[in-house]
């Protein structure tokens, strides 16, 4: 199973700033290993951020995103104590969801 994410959600004025660190190889499928064999593509495809269970960000990513990526979002209408859940699904069907509380 994939390693956990590190999520920080903080109120800055009336906007909630969310920062997510993900642990993922993000292989493009273009690289070759030492033996000249193509390294199979392995990257996060879908990404969602939910605030108290309601989806506020839904996006698609591909192989151009770096290994162990960092994402940042700004969300309006959140308040301290709200639950932030971040989920991803990769092209191999592996998935991961982690939660934190808005500070």
């Amino acid at each position: 199973m994939a390693d956990p994410m590190k999520i920080r959600a903080q109120m800055k004025g009336d906007v909630c700033e969310i920062r997510v660190l993900m642990s993922h190889p993000m292989e493009t499928g273009q690289r070759k290993d030492a033996d000249g064999k193509t390294v199979p593509a392995h990257f996060i495809q879908n990404l969602t951020v939910a605030l108290n269970g309601k989806t506020v960000v839904s996006g698609q990513t591909a192989g151009s995103v770096s290994r162990n990526p960092v994402f940042g979002f700004k969300v309006k209408g959140a308040k301290a104590g709200d639950k932030v859940a971040v989920s991803w699904v990769d092209n191999k069907g592996d998935k991961r969801t982690d939660e934190t509380t808005v500070a």
Binding site: D3, P4, K6, R19, L21, M22, S23, S66
Partner: protein, 277 residues
């Protein structure tokens, strides 16, 4: 006229740089400004440093019962301040450990705990001790976790301890030792002020303000390749770049060099696991 002279100096600089040699700065570039720009970039990156992912992994490994003896490092490993005490341990290393009768840096100490307390085989650990590609050795995550417990603390290597002082002296000797096909020593590039290779400023490790630049960003996450690397790796790679034989993993030589650099940086701030280009 003045401008012309600066351009002339820059051309000389470029010519020298092309030979791959370090040389004194006389190139008309505003280095203070360039440094400030780089510091801004670093501050931005530090805000979301993937090194934190390895700290999390390291915490898991630190607390888990592992190895043939099925004990955790948390309940068996003394990093110098007592078993399980990690706050400020990293900035007070390398230090002398009576149980091992050796001066040890953080990584070497964890390796010692893994072999002596948990029963892991040293040869197995030393087979592939550094990260590459998607592979990160457990020891790297563990060092990152331990280093994270000294975030925003000042380096305080116990240099008054005669054993540490001796290690410092030997480290200083090693830094000055010229050998290899290029007849290089560490000090050839890192032993005086104002040197650089291409656009990379080289710190003078003999001075506190230079030594801190050598140690404060390790362990560090290198964005090129996305790998987490430790100061053991950094030392190893210095030897490789000097075309020296590479030192044995977690050996005296590396600890002595780290003692020299870290103790010279004493009194200055350690910001925690770093991020590299």
């Amino acid at each position: 006229m003045r401008k012309l002279r600066i351009i002339g100096a820059a051309c000389t600089a470029a010519a020298l740089a092309a030979t791959g040699m370090a040389f004194a700065q006389s190139d008309g570039v505003d280095h203070a400004k360039a440094d400030a720009e780089f510091a801004k970039f670093r501050a931005e990156m530090e805000d979301s440093n993937p090194a934190e992912l390895f700290e999390m992994k390291g915490e898991e490994l630190w607390k888990a019962k592992r190895g043939p003896k099925n004990v955790s490092l948390a309940e068996s490993c003394d990093m110098g301040l007592g078993i399980g005490k990690l706050d400020g341990a990293y900035v007070k290393m390398p230090r002398y450990f009576a149980d091992a009768d050796k001066v040890m840096d953080a990584e070497r100490r964890i390796v010692w705990c893994m072999t002596e307390k948990q029963g892991f085989s040293f040869d197995e650990i030393a087979k592939r001790p550094f990260a590459s590609g998607n592979y990160t050795p457990d020891i790297t995550s563990l060092v990152t976790f331990v280093a994270g417990h000294s975030r925003n603390m000042k380096f305080a290597v116990p240099i008054k301890d005669p054993k540490v002082k001796e290690a410092w002296e030997i480290g200083k000797e090693i830094a000055a030792y010229r050998a290899g096909p290029y007849d290089f020593s560490c000090n050839t590039c890192h032993g005086s002020d104002g040197k650089r290779i291409r656009m990379q400023n080289l710190p003078n490790l003999a001075k506190p303000e230079g030594a801190i630049k050598g140690v404060f960003g390790w362990p560090g996450y290198r964005m090129t390749g996305g790998v987490m690397l430790t100061s053991q790796w950094r030392m190893n790679d210095c030897f490789r770049q000097q075309r020296f034989p590479e030192p044995k993993y977690a050996s005296d030589t590396v600890t002595y060099l780290l003692t020299y650099m870290t103790a010279t940086a004493n009194g200055q701030l350690y910001k925690g696991p770093g991020i590299k280009r």
